[in-house]
Structures are given as C-alpha cells and as structure tokens.
C-alpha cells in the first residue's frame, strides 16, 4: 500500500504545473453563462487543446494523451490548484465522451470527439424533463421513426450549458408502448437545427446556467443514435455513473477550495469556527484519498458501481459545509457577492443534481447494505 506517484506521473504533473503557471489567465474569465464568457471559455478550451491538455485521458489519436487514471486525477488537482477556468466542455468530455467510448461506433468517435476536444463543438446534456427530474424513467420526449433517422418531439429542462452550446444529447422514448426504462433511445442532436427552441433559465445568481429545450420535429440521422434504439437506458447508465463518480467531481476542486478556506482562516481566524475549518480540510483530504482508493480498484479491473453514490453524498455535503464555513468566517462581509458566494450558490446544487442525495442514500442502503426496496 502506497501513495507514491509513478515517475511518469510526476513528470506529467510537473509539465502540467509549469504550463498552467504560464497560461492560466491572471484575471478570471467572465461567467460562462454569459455570451462573452462562453466565448472566452471556448477559446480557453482551444488553448488547452493546443497543448494537448484538454482531454488528457483520451487516446492520442483523438486529441488526448492516453493518461492513466492516476495521471488524470493529478491533472485535475493541478488544474484546480492553479484556479484555471471552469471547463465549458465538461458535459461533452465527462458525460458524452465516456458513453461514446463504451457504446459509440468508430465513425462516431472520429467524427464527434476531436471537435469536442478542441472546444469547436460544445455539448449540453438534456436529461431532465418537467415531469422527470429525479425519476429519469418517466421521460416523455419521443423520437419518431422517419426516413434515415428520427424526429424528436418534446421538452427537456435543466439542460446545463444549453443556452449557448452547439449540440445536445439525451434519452428519447422510441417505443411508446414500453414501460418506464424500456423503449428509450440515446440520441445526439443539433441545438441549432430546425424545430429547436432554447430558453435560458436564470439560476440563483441570475445567469442562465441551464435552459429548457423545446423540440418540435427535429431531424436526427441514424448516425447520431448511440447504441441500439430502445437500449438507451443501459447506454445512459454508464454515463450517469460517470457523472456521479470520478469524472465530474475530481478531488482537486475541493482540495483547492479547502486551501482557500485555510487562507481565509489565516487572515480572519475565529476560534469558535476552528473545528468547521479543520473538518472542511479533512473532508477534502478524505475525498482525495477515497478517490485514490477508487483509482486503484479501477486500475485492478474493478467497477465504480453503487459506491459512486458514497462519493457523491460526501462531496456534495462537504462542498456546502465548506462554503458555509467560509461565509461565516467572512462575518458581515459574508453576504457580498464574490467568489465565495458564487461557490456557495454553486454548492447548493450539489445535493440535487446528478441524482438527488435522497436517491443516493437509497442506493447506498439498498445496493450496498442490503436494505429491502
């Protein structure tokens, strides 16, 4: 048992660290939920791609570096520590790409992934619907068979990034007679296509971080279906597990936030809040070590599975508590709009999205602890 990075990981880390030091913009980019911020973030993806740092874990021929999981975790840690820009491409690279690697055709891989890696196509997820939030199987949007493809009808909501993104992916009902999980098909579609209407939904901070998508006879060629028609639920579950697991919430994010909290504590110590500050750091460290444990298990051929629910419950609660502690340390300044309140508002979504924490607790109790359904 050890926590020593492999020599090539150390070399990779040093390269990443040096590159980030040289290239991360000194001033934060504008919010990616504004038009100018979206453009700036798209350009940043291009800059990353030019250094072959936008999708390090992908194969080299698709724009990546064949980085190991260990290297990926280290990359993320360096990335967050450098306070580099948020990834506007994250829905594509962390949700859609793993699905394509698992279920996509070779043609899909070479067509879809390189422009994704360069930020030329930004992807939005389209999971939820008004009546299907936590209950994804209640999806009503449908895809009707047509010549050479499908016509999409219906409404998606809480579609992250969709306000300004290029393309979307999600599940559509192709067999209306089938019950719940059955008869769903995994589809990629163009957000600029005829029949698509996108309406931004302002979040707590007032910016349209997600959107509603209305689909009225939107044509999608067969080439843009992932996996077999009717098999979308199984295809999506591999993505969902990725969303909840390692990919979207790398420990680097929380370690960097905990470091900022400690910096705040040094400037404004408050003995009565000491234990909360310590617990935030310990919580971030615990998630990092838990991730290394998972990385080792996956490297040994293990699966992420229901244990990803444990990670999600932990980081989502840690993130809220960490930011609450920061706001409390700030005293009267705690209500000022700024990085800490932005991080706080963002953290509040953690216990809700990617499967609410109530559902994650059910998963832990039922699948890992044998409780009856």
């Amino acid at each position: 048992m050890d926590l020593d990075l492999a020599p090539d990981t150390v070399a990779f880390r040093d390269e990443v660290r040096a590159w980030l030091r040289a290239h991360v913009p000194a001033a934060a980019l504008p919010s990616m939920d504004t038009p100018e911020g979206f453009r700036a973030h798209r350009e940043w993806e291009r800059t990353l791609a030019d250094a072959r740092l936008s999708v390090v874990s992908w194969p080299a021929d698709l724009g990546g570096r064949d980085a190991s999981l260990e290297q990926w975790v280290v990359f993320e840690e360096e990335y967050y520590r450098a306070a580099a820009p948020l990834r506007v491409s994250q829905n594509g690279i962390f949700l859609l790409a793993p699905t394509l690697f698992a279920h996509g055709t070779p043609e899909q891989l070479v067509r879809i992934l390189p422009p994704m890696a360069r930020g030329e196509q930004i992807w939005a997820q389209a999971w939820s619907e008004p009546e299907a939030g936590s209950d994804l199987a209640a999806i009503r949007s449908r895809a009707e068979r047509t010549d050479g493809g499908w016509l999409l009808y219906g409404q998606k909501t809480w579609s992250t990034r969709a306000t300004y993104a290029d393309r979307g992916f999600g599940l559509f009902r192709t067999d209306l007679a089938a019950e719940r999980h059955r008869g769903l098909t995994y589809v990629m579609f163009d957000l600029r296509a005829q029949g698509v209407t996108v309406r931004g939904i302002p979040q707590l901070d007032g910016e349209p971080g997600f959107a509603e998508i209305f689909l009225d006879g939107v044509f999608v060629p067969d080439a843009d279906v992932i996996g077999e028609p009717g098999n979308g639920w199984r295809v999506a579950m591999s993505t969902a597990s990725n969303e909840r697991g390692l990919s979207l919430r790398s420990p680097g994010r929380f370690l960097a936030a905990a470091d900022r909290l400690l910096e705040l504590w040094r400037r404004r110590p408050e003995p009565a809040l000491a234990d909360r500050v310590v617990d935030a750091w310990i919580g971030a460290r615990a998630y990092e070590l838990h991730t290394w444990q998972t990385v080792t298990r996956l490297a040994d051929g293990g699966e992420l599975g229901a244990e990803s629910s444990i990670g999600k419950l932990h980081w989502s609660q840690l993130d809220v508590a960490l930011h609450e502690t920061a706001l409390d340390l700030l005293g009267a300044d705690g209500e000022l709009a700024g990085p800490w309140t932005a991080g706080y508002l963002f953290s509040l979504a953690g216990p809700i999205y990617a499967g609410t924490n109530e559902i994650q607790r059910n998963v832990v109790a039922e699948r890992l602890m044998g409780m009856p359904r």
Binding site: L204, A337, E358
Partner: protein
C-alpha cells in the same frame, strides 16, 4: 402570564398579511433586482397607511410607540412576504436614533414619504438598500450623521444593494444600543417570517410534485426534512417573542440575541430544506423560492452574524 398574542394584535397581523398577500411581492422584488424601486415605494406607501412605518416612532412625535412585540409581529409578516428593504433600518432602528438628536426628521419617516437606511460600523459596515432609500445615515462611535454613498457593492441577495458610506454632516451624539437592539429584534422577526414562508412553499410543492408515481411528500425522507425544519421554526417563534418582552430589561442583550440566533438558524434550515424539496426548480431565479433563499442567506450576515450574537449570549450568561 399570557404568552400569546392578543386579539387586537392578531387583527393587526391579519390586516398586514392581507395587504401583503395582495401586493405580489415577488414582482416587487424582481423590479428591485432590475433597479426599478417604484413598486417597492408604492408598497411602502401602503404599509405606511397601515401604520407600519410609525410603529417604533414615539407617540410624542406622532408615532404609534408600539411595543417591541408589535414590532416583531409586523416584521414577521414583512419577512414572510419578502418585502424589500430598507425595513429594519427605516422602521426599527432610525426612529429611535433620530428621536434622540433630530426628532424633526421623524415626521416624513413615519408618514412613509421618506425611506431611510443606516450603516453602523463595525457591526453593520455597509448601509443596505440605499438605492431604494431617500436618506442615508451613519451611526459610528456614538455619533449619528447624515451620510453619502461612497462605494456600492452587490449582495448575494440581488434585491439588496450594499454601500459603504461617509458622514456628510453630524447630527449629534446618540445612545445607539436601544436602537440597534430593536434592529436585532426586527432582523430576527423578518428571518422567522421568511423561514415560515419557504417552508410553506416547500410543503405545498411536496404535495403537488409527483415522482416515482407518488407525491414526493409521501416519501419519508421528504417528510422528515420538512418536519425537522418545522420544529426549528416552531421553537424559534416563542424565543422571538421572549426576546421582544425582554427589551428594556436586564435580559435584553441575552434574550434578543438568542432570538436572532434561533430565528436565523431556523430560517436557514427551512431554506435548505425547501431547496432540497424543490430540486432543480428551486435553484432557478425564475422560481419565487429563489428570492427568499438568497435573502435568508444574506440576512445571516446583516445586523450581527450568528457568531456575534452567540458570543453575546454567552457573555451575558457567563460574564
């Protein structure tokens, strides 16, 4: 011993609640967020007609000289409805300060034709809602002054504007303790009302929203989230009125700060529960819940933080 509101107080509350229920305060708040304070001013004028702005003005200056309990009752309703500020400042704090050094400035305040705000560093380093106010004051080191805005800052609650201010002309020396004590009480009351409002919204939503074939309120996890938040609010309410009754006694510092601690905690817990029950829709600025959520967070930091009030209670208990 009769620890319950009197019939005439219940009538006052009912009248206020009726007015506010008809006022579409979410629309008023959204206008304030957009920088249009006219709807808020119109609402304030109607509240003044009902006597809200005259509550804490002494009778010798034409005010109602209402009891702290009455003040708290009014602020619970303002908080519940999400009335934009400056309410704590204009209604609870300034009447007591101005009465000491500039009683002539009270008349337009109690009539509701002037809305005013005040900063009181270091406890309240910025004046809240100065964009909606006609007058800005600074109360610092025992001196009350007229003040001018120096630098505007944004609050996590987008309907609030904060500003650092500087004195332009000194009005005189004041004993700020009693005034700011009323501010603490009003702040506690407003938070309790806001907490009750978000929990009611959440409970309503839980009976309507269907997932997995049932209203989500049928799931025990949702029930228990709501129940725990309810317990917090139910226990905070008597502490608020206990604090109101203590104003002017030797227990005021202890009991008013205890009220503020309880009400702010209970409101915050209710807000977190309400967001979790609503799920993603509660996270949107379009949903009214968001107006209360950000306000409840912001008010944790206004007129003394929870930490500041807790250490005040402890000092009173062990000092």
């Amino acid at each position: 011993m009769r620890f319950a509101i009197a019939p005439e107080q219940a009538d006052f509350v009912a009248g206020l609640r009726r007015l506010l229920a008809a006022a579409d305060t979410p629309a008023v708040l959204r206008a304030s967020i957009a920088g249009d304070h006219a709807p808020a001013r119109a609402l304030w004028a109607r509240l003044a007609d009902l006597g809200v702005s005259a509550l804490a003005v002494p009778q010798r200056y034409g005010g109602l000289g209402a009891t702290p309990v009455d003040l708290a009752l009014a602020f619970v309703e303002l908080g519940r409805a999400g009335v934009p500020g400056p309410a704590v400042e204009s209604v609870a704090i300034l009447p007591c300060l101005l009465g000491q050094v500039a009683p002539e400035r009270l008349e337009p305040l109690l009539a509701g034709s002037v809305i005013a705000t005040v900063a009181a560093p270091p406890l309240a380093p910025r004046a809240a809602d100065c964009d909606a106010a006609d007058e800005v004051y600074l109360c610092e080191a025992g001196t009350l002054s007229l003040a001018a805005v120096q630098r505007r800052e944004r609050s996590v609650d987008r309907s609030r504007t904060l500003a650092t201010v500087s004195a332009t002309s000194v009005l005189g020396e004041v004993d700020a303790g009693a005034a700011i004590g009323l501010g603490f009480l009003a702040s506690a009351a407003g938070l309790l009302g806001a907490g009750e409002a978000v929990l009611e919204q959440a409970a309503r939503y839980a009976t309507q929203r269907v997932q997995f074939g049932r209203p989500i309120g049928a799931f025990q996890a949702v029930k228990h989230l709501l129940a725990d938040a309810r317990v917090g609010l139910e226990l905070a309410r008597p502490v608020l009125f206990g604090g109101a009754l203590s104003v002017g006694t030797g227990d005021e510092a202890r009991d008013v700060s205890a009220a503020r601690v309880c009400c702010a905690d209970a409101a915050y817990r209710a807000a977190r529960a309400a967001l979790q029950v609503h799920g993603a829709i509660g996270y949107t600025a379009e949903h009214d819940l968001s107006l209360w959520l950000t306000r409840i967070r912001a008010l944790q930091h206004a007129w003394g933080t929870q930490r500041w009030h807790r250490s005040r209670v402890l000092a009173e208990l062990t000092g």
